[in-house]
């Protein structure tokens, strides 16, 4: 019998039963809940007169719809305040642990799960948020679900799911100077498109991935949804164990040894077969930037936007619409383009390593006058650590201000909206029309590219400074 993939090992272990000719009933080890996609699910439980089946396997945070300034004061926006309060009421009624606003463990759901040691290899993890794929970096099956499914998991701790196909994406070799994990994932998406992995669960492998830190791995798995994948994952290894060890909810003592022993069995067997395999060379990747209105419209920063003729006929209309929205001309160079905003944050690049990289880059330099910069840590713990390491001070000396944690301008549900027509270089994950505010124009890039741009005031290749 052929070996099993990482995905299959975890999946098979969690199948409770299978519906005849239909999906599997998949047991869920951990369910993350946030304020935006849960109220209707809790209401559903109430309508049915049922409880949360396993409150202890559920954890909630407020992140999407909270301000990133003055968090100690009541939320100004009435609807936001109501929604955040609703989460607190629901959690209380149903006995779900909540790390709400101002809790020391509050933060973006995909930042706090890993940093608290809740996310562990071999688990099944879901959340009503597509970037749940982030947790796959630990060698778990983690994916986003809709609100009906949130209700399903709250009610039954299981989910009806069709088994996706498996894909492995290998990235081998050494990354060039100034090239980081965000560039790897933007590169892959630019190559295979936003639908390139639809229907698949993707395992990222290869020497370039193995050499990454956990936080860098999370950035890659985070954006697997942007290539259409159901989720992304990376086999656990020493780097993974090292990261988890000693964290709040990590196993301790003898349990730790036992857990690590089990986790070591998880990586895909050598003879495991994937439905599809792709291979990329790390040396082909340069710092990336997007020029259009989906994450697949990305190029190496030194390249020019494709010309109309270079675009496949069937996507020409979409390309044209995108160029109009961004007010870019096909064939334009990206370097030197004017920028108004720089956003550092989100579950993609709002972790301590991202802040460190940004701070190290801007240290001793000055923010360009034309740039408004929002630096938003992914969690209170990240914020506290940045404080401790002197990052806040470095930022302030360079003319940057650090805000309080939350999703912020990643989706612009709160007041952190990029004004209409303005250009933002953003370390988040989506450059859709209006994603960062009505009429906002987003260019996705790494924290290094964002730092270089914040210093010069225009799109800048970070390698110029290295």
């Amino acid at each position: 019998m052929a070996g099993k993939t990482l995905f299959e090992k975890i999946w098979d272990k969690h199948v409770v039963t299978k519906v005849d000719g239909g999906p599997s009933v998949l047991y869920i080890d951990r369910h993350f809940v946030h304020e935006v996609t849960s109220p209707q699910a809790f209401a559903g439980l109430r309508d049915r007169g049922i409880q949360v089946r396993k409150p202890e396997k559920t954890v909630a945070t407020a992140d999407h719809n909270i301000p990133t300034l003055k968090q100690d004061q009541p939320i100004q926006d009435e609807l936001s305040r109501f929604q955040v309060n609703k989460l607190a009421l629901n959690c209380e009624e149903f006995g779900v642990p909540l790390y709400g606003l101002n809790h020391k463990w509050n933060g973006i759901v995909h930042v706090i799960g890993p940093e608290l040691g809740i996310t562990k290899p071999g688990m099944t993890i879901v959340c009503g948020d597509s970037h749940t794929s982030t947790h796959g970096a630990f060698g778990s099956i983690a994916f986003g679900i809709g609100t009906s499914e949130v209700e399903m998991v709250l009610a039954t701790q299981t989910l009806l799911q069709n088994k996706p196909k498996t894909m492995r994406i290998n990235i081998d070799g050494e990354l060039g100077k100034g090239v980081v994990s965000k560039d790897i994932v933007l590169y892959i998406i630019s190559q295979i498109g936003t639908g390139g992995a639809t229907g698949y669960f993707v395992e990222f492998a290869g020497s370039a991935i193995r050499n990454l830190s956990m936080e860098a791995r999370m950035t890659i798995c985070n954006m697997s949804i942007e290539m259409g994948a159901r989720g992304g994952m990376i086999a656990p290894d020493e780097t993974t164990f090292e990261y988890i060890k000693g964290r709040e909810f990590a196993p301790k003592g003898a349990e730790w040894d036992k857990a690590v022993e089990e986790w070591r069995q998880l990586p895909s067997d050598a003879d495991a077969a994937f439905d599809k395999e792709l291979v990329f060379k790390a040396s082909d990747i340069e710092p990336m930037i997007t020029y259009g209105t989906n994450p697949g419209m990305g190029i190496g920063i030194s390249k020019s936007i494709p010309t109309f003729e270079e675009i496949e006929k069937s996507t020409q209309a979409t390309f044209k619409k995108s160029m109009q929205y961004m007010d870019f001309e096909p064939g334009d160079a990206m370097i030197g383009k004017k920028v108004d905003y720089v956003f550092i944050g989100s579950c993609t690049n709002g972790r301590i390593e991202d802040l460190r990289a940004f701070a190290a880059f801007v240290k001793g330099k000055k923010k360009a006058d034309n740039i408004t910069a929002w630096i938003v840590p992914g969690s209170h713990q990240v914020e506290a650590q940045a404080e401790e390491e002197g990052i806040r001070q470095i930022l302030e000396e360079a003319g940057f201000e650090m805000r309080q944690p939350g999703c912020s301008a990643c989706l612009a549900m709160n007041d952190d909206k990029i004004p209409e027509g303005n250009y933002a270089v953003s370390t988040s994950n989506r450059n859709f029309e209006g994603r960062q505010g009505p009429g906002a124009r987003t260019m996705l890039a790494s924290p290094l590219t964002a730092a270089a741009t914040a210093i010069t005031g225009k799109i800048t290749d970070p390698r110029d400074f290295l």
């Binding site: 986003g144 679900i145 809709g146 609100t147 701790q157 936003t194 639908g195 209409e420």
Partner: protein
């Protein structure tokens, strides 16, 4: 919550011939502050549909009285991006019963099915034919027959068959809901939990 039954539908269509329509376009994040499922239809495609002051933009199809119907026909890779089920609620809330495209994002597909909104995936060629037929005559009707998994351009074709998971088909035909199914097997779940704890 029980969903609406879907057996057969004949209707005119509303065309949105744009590719990669993501859920931020279907319903922008600033409208996600509600805590019920109602009312999202009013903000379906909000940024394409209304100008800054909230007036309807004439050139957007939902504001064009020429087009109406219960079937939304959209370009490929429909519903990508955020997992927000509000996108399905907005489309269903507006009055659509089915969405036709040549490709759907995974989560959107699940969300639609969980809300009695049928995603019908057709070939690129068939989608092109639909767009052309609707453009030529906005009164063109399309029939979607779920029992036989067939979509037909009325009156005389062409038609194409479409895929749907047999379990989901049964749910749609009967208006069943996944949670009822899972609640019914809670003993089995408990047994599994005991064996795996």
């Amino acid at each position: 919550m029980p969903i609406d039954k879907f057996v057969k539908l004949e209707s005119t269509c509303v065309p949105v011939p744009i590719e990669n329509v993501d859920t931020d376009q279907i319903i922008p994040a600033r409208f996600l502050k509600a805590t019920t499922r109602e009312g999202f239809g009013d903000n379906l495609f909000a940024d394409w549909r209304y100008d800054k002051s909230g007036n309807p933009k004439k050139d957007f199809v939902l504001n064009d009285p020429t087009y109406s119907g219960k079937i939304l026909v959209a370009g490929q890779n429909f519903g990508s991006g955020s997992s927000r089920e509000h996108a399905a609620w907005a489309i269903a809330g507006y009055g659509f019963k089915a969405v036709v495209s040549s490709f759907f994002a995974d989560i959107f597909k699940n969300n639609s099915l969980n809300n009695g909104l049928l995603p019908v995936q057709v070939s690129k060629e068939f989608l092109e034919e639909l767009f052309q037929a609707i453009e030529k005559d906005p009164a063109t009707k399309v029939e979607i027959d779920l029992e036989n998994q067939k979509i037909t351009l009325q009156p005389n074709g062409p038609s194409e068959s479409f895929d749907i998971n047999p379990y989901k088909k049964k749910c749609m035909l009967n208006g069943f809901d996944d949670i009822d199914y899972l609640l019914n097997i809670s003993n089995e779940i408990e047994t599994w939990e005991k064996a795996n704890s």
